[in-house]
Symmetry: C3
Subunit: 185 residues, 3 copies
């Protein structure tokens, strides 16, 4: 009988300790979900109405809304509705749209500030992901915050690493976004 009691004791000790460990913060620095997506930005230049996916809406004195301004584009805000694809091919079937704003904010280098959402609506992904952050464009990999999500991405938070995959002149930009969610629900 004593040995049986001892086994029970040990079992209870194990239970107590394991629950004590489980009760510690369960946040890890390993993503609970990841996504790699591409989006394609074609700036309206006065002639490309059919293809354009973004439009300049503010410009500094001396510039109009159909060309990025000199002085590192300082003073330009653009609104976007860019197709999102699963690979870096503009002509792949879009899985959603990147919507929001992009603004240039520095007078002596290229930096931007971003506030935008990925709106995904396919059988694979259904929901939205909301981002904000500073974008030091010339840096190869820049991190911004994933501050929330809806639908499939309900309440998610994380980090998005943005990379300029390709660009052509000052009109076409292909961006790769590695989304790492660290808080899933």
């Amino acid at each position: 009988m004593k040995s049986k009691n001892h086994l029970l004791f040990l079992f209870l000790v194990f239970l107590s300790l394991s629950s004590a460990f489980l009760s510690k913060k369960t946040k890890h620095h390993k993503p609970c979900k990841t996504l790699v997506l591409y989006f394609h930005d074609i700036i309206y230049n006065g002639k490309n109405t059919a293809n354009a996916t973004s439009a300049i809406v503010t410009a500094p004195p001396g510039y109009n809304l159909t060309i990025l301004a000199g002085n590192f584009h300082l003073g330009n805000i653009a609104v976007l509705d860019d197709p999102i694809t699963l690979d870096n091919n503009l002509h792949s079937k879009p899985v959603g749209q990147a919507q929001g704003l992009h603004m240039y904010d520095t007078k002596n280098t290229f930096t931007a500030w971003l506030g935008f959402s990925f709106v995904l609506n396919t059988t694979e992904y259904k929901g939205s992901i909301n981002f904000i952050g500073a974008d030091p464009i010339l840096v190869e990999e820049r991190d911004i915050s994933v501050v929330g999500g809806t639908g499939e991405f309900f309440m998610h938070r994380g980090i998005a690493t943005i990379m300029t995959d390709t660009f052509e002149g000052e009109v076409y930009f292909w961006l790769r976004v590695d989304i790492k969610f660290y808080e899933c629900w």
Copy 2:
């Protein structure tokens, strides 16, 4: 004496198990707090200075700041300071102000991107709630993220469901917002 020991054992097993369950992530998909609020947006049209609660601040070429642009309003950014009420009556006593920005971002349908705050300052509610997200205006219920709060809503996160309650022409919009906090502090 043995039966007494058994009762104690059972009690400890119960304690251990219950704490093990409690120690699991306590996040539920049931809101910890909900709020239903209305806000009323009256766009400045050049003649309604006294009543207007929002102002268009950017317009595409060919449009001015006193009328929403054609082409699905693409290129319009509006800043708002809209009264918030507890029911859908514009003339009810406001409990706060909805402040921030609203921008139209698509060339072939009505979609917007929102970044704004509810600033509440009554005996009932005191604090601010911060929102961002894509707003596919034509969808009846659209979800955006509640990314933070202050005062009574300190550190809260959640989802806000926006519904267009009423609109009159392109000048008056009544919106209903169902705020569901899933992270309360």
Copy 3:
């Protein structure tokens, strides 16, 4: 032997209870990290190109981009790239840049809405902090949300209290920001 059993019982009761307590939400209203930083905003006025750190990018009818508008600046959006310092001296060595937007949104008092990031890149601080919120400028201390961070501030959330430390005319503004993180990773 019985007394030994009793000690073990008590020990297990203690373990069970303590883990039950630990398993409760471990979020406290005491910051896990704090930072006090200053940023310095010098608005471009058409003559101060060398010193200016921010630029007005939208203005209401009748105003241009080199002066804040009348009517409580309603309709002005400014983009910023302001130096951040550890004390309130503009000439101290900057530890980073405050980048983003600042918009005036009310017709009968001074209020703004802010969306910006602190980009810190020194041996002391390396990473970014992302903020949004309403800024009732005339209030001495106003709280906005820290909605995310990267690098050293990976996934952090909190509250930032903004205070206008000094201003000169309508061109220079010194702001103090007390950042209190309540969610550290």
